[in-house]
Amino acid sequence: MPEGLVRILRPDGKVEKGQKVPSINPKDLIHLYRVMLLNRRVDERMTTLQRQGRIGFYIGSVGEEAAIIGSAFALEEKDWIIPCYRELGAALLRGFSLFEFCCQLFGNAQDSIKGRQMPNHYASAKLRFGSISSPVGNQIPYATGIGLAARLRGTAEAVLVYFGEGATSEGDFHVAVNFAGVYKTPTIFLCRNNQWAISMPRELQTASKSIAIKAKAYGIEGVQVDGNDIFGVYSVTREAVDRARRGEGPTLIEAVTYRLGAHSTSDDPRAYRDDEEVEGWKEKDPLCRFKLYLMAEGHWGEEKDAYLEEEIKNEIQAALKKSERIGPPSIDTMFEDVLDRVPWHLKEQLEELRRVQELDAVQQEA
């Protein structure tokens, strides 16, 4: 893995001197751009929806789309994605439908996780996309474990696990990377260093010069990449995946990016960071950069862009319209999946709940 920060696409959309753009066919390039734009517009729309009180919460990834989508693009279908809570772009790239996503936001009867978790905490076993957990860093050790299982079975599948730079302070991060180093698991640890963990700046998380450098101490490969450069992120992840498949072990990738928005809809970053800093990073926006490149190469134009914007707007609108009118799951589902079968005490508790609800219904009729 190269030393220093890897960058292929500059903020102005031009290719960095001496760097080569990875070979991706134009159709895939446009698809990548589409998913990035969709991700951005979904985040904006759902944040508004939360403000209107139509969903309870939302957490997005504005500014971090290249780090998320560029890395996921380096995988094959058989590989695993173990997400943090900002990886909608990776899910969409895998084919997770907007309708399914919206159903989860509403926690309705067609939500594939049956209304059990907060918005943005979906899962898709079918897509080998992990179940999202809120506790920071919890997913990292089991990404090592999935990699270990794949290695033991000799399947050449890779595992890509996402987390923020804040998560590298948790013990779970260190445990996971250490195990991965010892067992040479095919795990790619992708740290989205977006500079902030709620109100805590990157400098307060670690005295290390970088996140990537931490790989050295665990005897694994580490690399730092411009996380707003989709080509750079794709290239280093691709190399890490290839190494993983060859049995050469794990890689820690630090994607240097920026959380342009609030931490979540519960947060107001004006209380702890300067607008100036945010404005500076807006100039490095991953989406603008990619668009400039696509236009310069003749793959894209403003007319097509306007058409795509319209298409995406309608797509989001349609998914929302269809999902918002679906009611809640049936009350029985509340007691399912605690264990593989519903034990006696939960059956009793469901009965207790039903009796109270029936009583209530009778009283309301009277």
Binding site: R116, S199, P328, H345
Partner: protein, 325 residues
């Protein structure tokens, strides 16, 4: 007396105790300049500076481990865990270190510290922003466990906890943070740990409860009085360990009927302990089985959180069941 909500009362207690005792130090995620995600430590960084209010890296084991070290050194740390749901990375430090330090060193070392953490549901937080983990800590010898239900108790109990020479788990019901308002004494104010409060007097059934559910039981008791003719006495435990057995027994001997209500799951919840103890100590005074109205034995759900939480309907049904036994 000024009127405050619980956040303001907690902030007031922290400020007052920090002014009184320079050994009191706060540490946690986002607690400094930002003042905490719930704003409980707002203004403290400005008043006391970075040596008294420390922003920490994102690691609960680090926060509690460091706090234990500070306590051993002679400080009085008040670490904040951002949500009780995220206390588990520090579980080992709490259960194996803080709680056992005094006992295992033959009383040579102590760990006076207060771990503040928001708990409970009702804020659309799903599994990971709604948990009520008090039973794990009550089960662990060597800890005190406290949960206030209103602003003045929040101030008085937190001050008492900071002055206490033991590790205290101080659970703050977050759905009351801004919802519960009331008068709070100014200046130094202490509510003795280990003392429950009878928040409603009645003759027919005793409800033993704590935290946010106190408010739900008060509403249910009002309805039960008006519509079902049941007179309910309600005890707010306030300190869960060591809990105030005397106040409970006095009430149970009067009413002969007991209902225990909490938001945490039923299985091995604190209600199980209270029920067993009352069976041992007051069986012949009981006229009906001790009933529990609690969260169900499932992970805290999202869509059905109001079905999950003990609500007025379930409480009234249980009161009737107790009376009609």
């Amino acid at each position: 007396m000024p009127t405050m909500n619980i956040i303001q009362a907690v902030n007031d207690a922290l400020r007052t105790e920090m002014r009184r005792d320079d050994r009191v130090v706060i540490l946690g995620q986002d607690v400094g300049k930002f003042g905490g995600v719930f704003r409980a430590t707002q203004g403290l960084f400005e008043e006391f500076g970075p040596n008294r209010v420390l922003d920490t890296p994102l690691a609960e084991a680090g926060i509690i481990g460091s706090a234990i070290g500070m306590a051993l050194y002679g400080l009085r740390p008040v670490p904040e865990i951002q949500f009780a749901d995220f206390i588990y990375p520090a579980f080992d430090q709490i259960v194996n270190e803080a709680s056992k330090m005094r006992y295992r060193s033959g009383g040579q070392y102590a760990c006076p510290m207060v771990i503040r953490t928001p708990c409970g549901g009702g804020i659309r937080g799903g599994h990971y922003h709604s948990q009520s983990p008090e039973a794990y800590f009550i089960h662990t010898p060597g800890l005190k466990v406290v949960m206030p239900s209103n602003p003045s108790d929040a101030k008085g109990l937190l001050s008492a906890s900071i002055r206490d020479d033991n590790p205290v788990i101080f659970l703050e019901p977050k759905r009351l943070y801004r919802a519960a308002r009331g008068e709070v004494p100014e200046g130094e104010y202490v509510v003795e740990l280990g003392k429950a409060k009878v928040v409603r007097e009645g003759d027919d059934v005793t409800i033993v409860t704590y935290g946010a559910v106190v408010h739900t039981t008060l509403q249910a008791a009002e309805k039960a009085a008006q519509e079902d003719g049941i007179s309910v006495e309600i005890i707010d435990l306030r300190t869960l360990l060591p809990y105030d057995i005397d106040t409970i027994l006095i009430s149970v001997m009067k009413t002969g009927r007991v209902l225990i209500a909490h938001e945490a799951a039923k299985m091995c919840g604190f209600g199980a302990e209270l029920s067993a103890t009352l069976n041992e100590k007051a069986l012949l005074h009981l006229q009906a089985p001790i009933l529990r109205v609690t969260g169900f034995d499932i992970p805290f759900p999202y869509t059905f959180e109001h079905e999950y939480l003990p609500n007025e309907k379930r409480l009234r049904k249980a009161l009737q069941d107790s009376i009609n036994f």
